[in-house]
């Protein structure tokens, strides 16, 4: 039997890696992938606690999270496509039109 903590540790590691990735990578596509990583870590937490508590709510919310992740990916990738059309780059540092 796998203890909840084990899963939580895995989830924590994935989350951290996702955050680190968002911090160090300037490639928009990689950053989006890191967001997915973080959402997955969150899902792991939901599932682990759902099992721990014997409550299905966690699983249901994981479904919602996956849905949101899909929506986020669609929007994010749409932004990337538009960005590349406009500026021919996927580097976030070069996208500073809003900085005034």
């Amino acid at each position: 039997m796998i203890s909840t903590t084990h899963v939580l540790v895995l989830s924590l590691a994935l989350f951290t890696l996702g955050v680190v990735g968002m911090a160090v990578r300037r490639n928009f596509i990689t950053v989006l992938m890191c967001v997915e990583l973080i959402l997955n870590a969150a899902n792991l937490n939901f599932i682990a606690f759902s099992r721990q508590l014997g409550d299905l709510t966690g699983q249901v919310f994981a479904v919602f999270v996956i849905t949101i992740a899909a929506a986020e990916a669609a929007i994010g990738l749409g932004i990337i496509v538009a960005l590349v059309r406009l500026k021919q780059t996927v580097n976030l540092d070069q996208v500073n039109v809003m900085e005034g």
Binding site: I2, A13, R26, L37, N40, I47, G54, L56, T57, V84
Partner: protein
């Protein structure tokens, strides 16, 4: 020998966790977005495996179906569409964060160690309760379904609207005219 069978789930878990972590590291380590996407795919599949171990088979299937079959394909599609074969080098300022990262990492590792030690003595979790909804033993899929469509119908509808909005948004942004200052 029977030890192997008894602890089979744990062994599988550790293998999957290793794959998931390696994949996650790959995501931020690989320079090529395609390689990063592939290693992220590995992470997703491993996490799906963990879901199965956590008696969430339905979610595992959904994870594979949507993440692996949908989202990552979309990622690859866009990577190929924008031809992002090589990406610019990392900016320098990240280097300055290295000491802070090391300290944080050590602290985190200590925390994890403590947590693991504590967990080894904790009570084992049991997923049997998951199968009991309304008193009758049901499949995981069916149970999630009941819960989703009865208790969480409103959030479900809201999420579907979010998806719809996202879809329209993606279409609007992906359209050619936006680049020429047309709509949006």
């Amino acid at each position: 020998m029977t030890w192997f069978l008894v602890h089979f789930a744990q062994i599988v878990f550790y293998c999957l966790a290793a794959v998931a972590l390696a994949g996650a590291v790959g995501v931020i380590a690989f320079r090529s977005p395609v390689h990063a996407a592939l290693s992220l795919l590995g992470t997703f599949l491993a996490v799906a495996g963990v879901f199965v171990l956590m008696q969430a088979e339905f979610l595992a299937a959904v994870q594979v179906l949507i993440y692996a079959g949908g989202i990552m394909v979309l990622f690859l599609f866009v990577i190929m569409l924008v031809k992002a074969r090589d990406i610019p080098d990392e900016p320098q300022y990240v280097r300055r964060l290295v000491p802070a990262a090391v300290i944080l990492g050590v602290l985190l590792a200590a925390l994890v160690g403590v947590g693991l030690w504590a967990a080894s003595s904790g009570p084992p979790a049991d997923g049997a309760a998951l199968r009991l909804v309304a008193g009758a033993p049901l499949g995981n899929t069916e149970a999630v379904g009941w819960s989703l469509y009865r208790d969480y119908l409103l959030p479900f509808e809201v999420v579907s609207i979010v998806l719809l909005v996202a879809m329209i948004g993606a279409i609007v942004m992906g359209r050619k005219e936006t680049g020429r200052g047309g709509a949006a």
